[in-house]
Amino acid sequence: MFRSFFAMILAASLLFPGAPKLNKEQRALHAANRLTFGPTTAELAAIQKMGVEKWVDLQLHPERIAENPALAERLKRYASVHMTNAQLMEKYPFRQPAGKGNAANVRLIYTELAETKLLRAVHSNRQLEELLADFWFNHFNVFFDKGFDRMLVTSYERDAIRPHVLGNFKDMVLATAKHPAMLFYLDNWTSVSTDSLDQMRKRFKRKAGAPKRAAGLNENYARELLELHTMGVDNGYTQQDVTEVARCFTGWSIGDLRAGATFKFNALLHDQKEKRVLGQVIPAGRGEEDGLQVIDILVNHPSTAKFVSTKLAQRFVADVPPPALVSKMAAAFSKTRGDLREVMRTMLTSPEFWSPAVYRAKMKMPFEMVASALRATGATIENSNAVQQELKTLGQPLYRKVEPTGYYPFAEEWTNSASLLTRMNLGLALAQNKVRGVRVDLETTLAGKTAPAAVAQALLLHPPAAETLKTLQTDAGTAHVAGLVLGGPEFQRR
């Protein structure tokens, strides 16, 4: 019944855009599906009580939302996530080549980082902020397991990403450009001007016979800054621009990597000659300003407005977002000079976001699926190691995407047999309380409901399709039914 109605409005909305609209219940569920890590009975009730527009506006202002006190209390347990780089390195030293205690220190840092991310996703009252922290970390991805990044990613997400997710885009680009985690991950800390080195060699004459240590330009960061962080690939820059941008960022380095690791501009290593980036002259004879000017040029480029808007719309609206929506968002980006709250507001108040064509049409990424299952079942997470292992099996281990592209939010990336089987098995295991470190009290969560239709409704937050319900009419018990719902096709969409 519901399905055929759904198919009808979907078809109609594709033929006559703007004709049918989501009803009030659907709008509330859509908001919870897209702007939280998964709807719960309580969240849905709160949205309906407040009115969906007001609720969306509140989510755009997380500072006005009181944080869940239980979460705040819980986060205190994880000492490392509150430490500065210097404190972290002193308490949990990491030496290369491999020193004693490295493995245990790294395990602790990773466990605390990944576990707090999961806890926040599941329990935070500031759900949109959590989704955006995930989105922007992924946009400016760094890989936890690259050398010293194991010590630096904790601060990176907390200090360079989180403060800016609803702030100004340029501030976030600058914060990531200067953060040692990024400087290390994309090698910019080692990129130096060849000229400056020649001069240094002349000044401090190499000892005769000493091995010649080559040093020079490294393009890794410059390329990804253009391609992945700002303009997008093939959107108006050349290989020459990449090289020139790399020259501008020479000397952007890390002060004392082993103790503290802070940004340091090293003028001695900077290429002081004139450069030309996207047709604009970067005058000779300057220092750190070169990189600052490049960032300024990039964030104000129309390609950046469009690229950032496209990526947000792909994650929040549809794998193939309507071009008209992207244009509106890009215009808001340009007009406000990168005010991300306004870009989000433009998206969230657009008819495209609320269109029946996109309702329950996004495939959940693994982290979204896992977090939403934990939220729907009201799970208590005592230790997240087993859950983190599931995320790895599903192809989305937290903080462990090797490539700077981050994870893709597209259905085809996550729709495959290995992934489906893992989702089914995880759904079953969770409902039957067989995931180590996680406790589920279904009786409480389901408020004593046992009828299959009611169990499905309580977890999906919408009535199950007739086809789903047919299979659920089994006497195998509530936990089995709940497991089928969580691992079933309807739960994989949001």
Binding site: N416, M424, E467, L484, G488
Partner: protein
Amino acid sequence: MTTNTRRAFVRNAALTAFGIGAAPGWLARAAGAGAKSKRVLVAIFQRGAMDGLSAVIPFGEKRYAELRPTLAVARDAAVDLDGFFGLNPALKPLQPLWASKQLAAIHATGSPDPTRSHFDAQDFMESGTPGRKATRDGWLNRAIAPQPNASPIRAISMGGTLARSLRGTNRAVAVNTIAGFKVRDNAQADFMSMYSQSTDTVLQGTGKDTFEAVKLLASINKAQAASGVTYPGSRLGQSLQQIATLIKADAGLEVAFADTTGWDTHINQAPALQGLLTDFAESLAAFHTDLGARMADVTVVSMSEFGRTAKENGNRGTDHGHANVMFALGGDVAGAKVYGKWPGLEAEQLYQQRDLAVTTDFRDVLAAVVQHHTGGADLAKIFPGHAAQPLHFFRPMQ
């Protein structure tokens, strides 16, 4: 990437009844009914851009040592192949395969597209259409002919996600491990019922492929297919071990995809590359030993999105470059030879004065493998927009 590539494939969802009714050919084969075994193509992707000049070293080239002041491998340290090229010492486990003429290298291969972006270049190599981002499916999926009653595991991709190379309208399954490829707690029938009836065509289609593969993998004779060979514990080693198991089980496997990551060696390249190349060589050598005589039906081909700068950078590493080296291993490969026209490393011979130039289109290497495996493949459909000239590196068919 362009947005129009980002739609999930709907696979023959409504065409076949769900579940396994009649026993098609592959099931008979899996049950050991002695059917003719099939040829198997195994594609390996080295993600991150392998430094081909360090893998198959042109030590006969005067400029090589000049361009690589700290990275150059000394001539007598390399495994001499033909007096001009040598294998990196870390690839020594491949030496017996080379000596037995089952392993060949194809140098200066790559894409006509100039991109030095990892994700674009990987996308182009996997779609098989350099420069064209709108291509939705992958070359390896197009390389298998549509066939009713084909084995549900005729095309597999190792790992938690389905490789871009294998996405498309022909069914292909992603497998983490054979042992773990099942539904727990007696829920298989219920999930099958739910997915088969779902009106979500994408998930219904994937569900169908999944459960058919689950049934087949549960039925294969694991004892017969077990290997007495020790593979590296790495992602590549474990993937190749699973692939070997499926080949030996005669379960209808035709194409398989595996990948390995971490080849993006911008800094302090030598130790990193030593680990990667050792793993690559040991994994391939174990696979070769494990399959024994079955290698007669198998070809392995390796690729990486682009090569690296001819000149080392300021950090004893290399940056993104252009041409690279590919390997082909198999019973029919006319091995012990470095194929491809060598373009040279003099400044004027380099691509954009910095990278090894491409003299063989990577598609002409893949086309040769596809042609050898399928006979009458329509290469124009597998590599659209490219007049394929398959490179000859197979022994003439008997």
